[in-house]
């Protein structure tokens, strides 16, 4: 098959079924979408809709049951290691840094994981230190950082190897207003100035309104909406629009696999 591909993320009929207590429970069903380089996309949906399962398939941690997925031109589940060099991943619910180590040592470990040379690393680290305002706590053990500081550290770790695609799972969860603003500012400037493609999941409508030019809404594992914010909003407020969307979707199966409960996240 010779299909000219341009999307940095492309899925066709992406499906994932879990077997729980001998019952087959679809967590993600028939997901088809394409994200072009340079886009800023929000992946929305209630708890248990299949957001985390989708992200796990995009980054190659989880094998799809069926369907096709390409990220940066690679097949994630087969080419996970190669793909890792093209994407930065942040899990908002847990740190990707080492608890006991000062932030700087954690970033040194990440540097060696990606095999970055010392000069390029120093330049990149200085740049990120400025952008994310890391200087005051570079020497502090990660466990002593506030949630906001930790998230900035996590972002630095995900960006050290200059990935063209950034995938974030609830990056602003639990952050205070100021930290949220910093994180959003950094994501926005990465996207507009560097052309980094960003895909994020969130429950925070502020993130969506401020950042996302396009939203994908998943409910019960299916794509419910794919388009710009205004189209989703219609004449309603954002909250009302989302509420309306979720409440009109027919329930499908009685026990959807919940994010965090299905795959042990």
């Amino acid at each position: 098959m010779l299909i000219e591909t341009t999307g940095i993320i492309e899925t066709t009929g992406l499906t994932r079924v879990f077997t729980r207590r001998r019952r087959r429970v679809p967590a993600v069903a028939d997901l088809t979408f394409t994200i072009e380089p340079g886009e800023f996309v929000g992946l929305l949906g209630p708890n248990g809709a299949g957001k985390s399962t989708t992200i796990k398939m995009l980054i190659g941690i989880l094998r799809p049951s069926s369907g096709r997925v390409r990220v940066a031109g690679l097949e994630p589940s087969r080419q996970r290691t190669r793909l890792a060099r093209h994407i930065g991943v942040v899990f908002g619910q847990r740190t990707t840094l080492w608890w006991d180590l000062p932030l700087r040592d954690s970033l040194a470990l990440v540097r060696h994981l990606y095999g970055l040379d010392a000069r390029a690393h120093a330049r990149r680290l200085a740049e990120l230190t400025g952008l994310l305002e890391l200087e005051p706590f570079l020497r502090t053990p990660v466990r002593q950082l506030s949630l906001g500081q930790r998230m900035r550290g996590d972002l630095a770790a995900a960006l050290l190897h200059e990935p063209p695609l950034l995938i974030l799972d609830e990056p602003t969860i639990g952050l205070d207003v100021i930290s949220k603003a910093t994180v959003r500012g950094v994501l926005e400037s990465l996207n507009t100035e560097r052309g980094t493609t960003v895909l994020l999941t969130t429950h925070d409508l502020g993130d969506v309104e401020r950042l996302c030019r396009r939203v994908l809404v998943i409910d019960h594992g299916r794509l419910g909406y794919d388009g710009d914010l205004d189209g989703l909003r219609g004449d309603d407020t954002m909250e009302a629009a989302v509420t309306r969307l979720f409440s009109t979707r027919p329930a499908h199966g009685e026990a959807p696999a919940r994010d965090g409960q299905g795959p042990a996240l």
Partner: protein, 266 residues
């Protein structure tokens, strides 16, 4: 970046981080040294009451202990962190590792690498040297090389057991302790002559979990003793081959475990 290169680089970062608390590192290393020294003390106490156990003299037992403890101390230092993989699966940390371009086996094995585990090496090597010096054996360069080679093979076998134990935790997340029976239990078992164990156990450790090749079989060659079970003499030279085979089996187990993890999502 090759896995060995990655391992060394990451281990280096951990060492530098630990060296920021030199007193703590020294204390923990000392504790490991004392712990191993107490193993040696137990052997000395046993031989305070008798000249032989199961026909083996004190230098012979010290030699067996020294070779086993050296192999297991090296393996523990290199890959001992693998036993925490169950905790990594539960906390989701393994997912984080899977988003990085280095083998998760290397990442888990080197996680929290600490030279303190080498603390066990001093008493182990001391026992090995004292035992070797006390043996009624002509230490030709060839025999020394043979001994070094079997200790290296023993390290590979012991490391492989750790890998298999870690792979098992993909199926049973809470079962870290079960692999302890084979890792730390294996070290305990190989510290004394196999002649003290029931024959079926010795057959099990020869043909199923190849602990007998960590030190017992090649040591029979060094000590020039008959095999109490009457097993063929060529087994004494089989340690390097057994090490390679064990490593291959361990690699397969690890792949199967990781595949299962990524296809079931649990």
């Amino acid at each position: 970046m090759g896995p060995v290169h990655a391992y060394l680089r990451l281990a280096g970062v951990w060492c530098r981080a630990l060296l920021q608390y030199p007193v703590s590192l020294a204390m923990l290393t000392l504790a490991q040294t004392v712990g191993a020294a107490l193993d040696v003390a137990a052997i000395l106490i046993v031989f305070a009451h008798t000249t032989r156990i199961a026909g083996f003299t004190e230098p012979e037992v010290l030699f067996l202990y020294g070779t086993a403890a050296t192999a297991f101390a090296l393996a523990d230092t290199l890959v001992g962190s693998l036993e925490r993989i169950g905790a990594h699966i539960r906390s989701g940390w393994l997912d984080v590792m899977l988003t990085r371009p280095v083998s998760p086996l290397v990442q888990v094995a080197v996680d929290r690498f600490s030279p303190r585990r080498l603390g066990k090496l001093a008493p182990a090597l001391a026992a090995l040297l004292i035992g070797a010096a006390g043996l009624d054996v002509a230490w030709t360069p060839g025999l020394v090389a043979f001994t070094v080679l079997f200790v290296v093979s023993g390290t590979v076998i012991a490391s492989s057991i750790w890998v298999v134990g870690a792979a098992f935790q993909f199926i049973a997340v809470d079962a870290a302790q079960a692999s302890n029976a084979f890792t730390y239990g294996g070290k305990e078992l190989t510290s004394y002559p196999m002649a003290i164990y029931p024959r079926d156990l010795v057959r099990f450790t020869t043909f199923v979990v190849p602990l007998a090749f960590v030190n017992w079989q090649p040591a029979l060659y060094v000590l020039d003793r008959p095999d109490p079970l009457g097993l063929p003499e060529w087994l004494r030279h089989a340690s390097p081959a057994v090490a390679l085979a064990t490593a291959a089996v361990a690699a397969l187990c690890w792949r199967a475990g990781l595949r299962r993890y990524r296809s079931t999502g649990s």
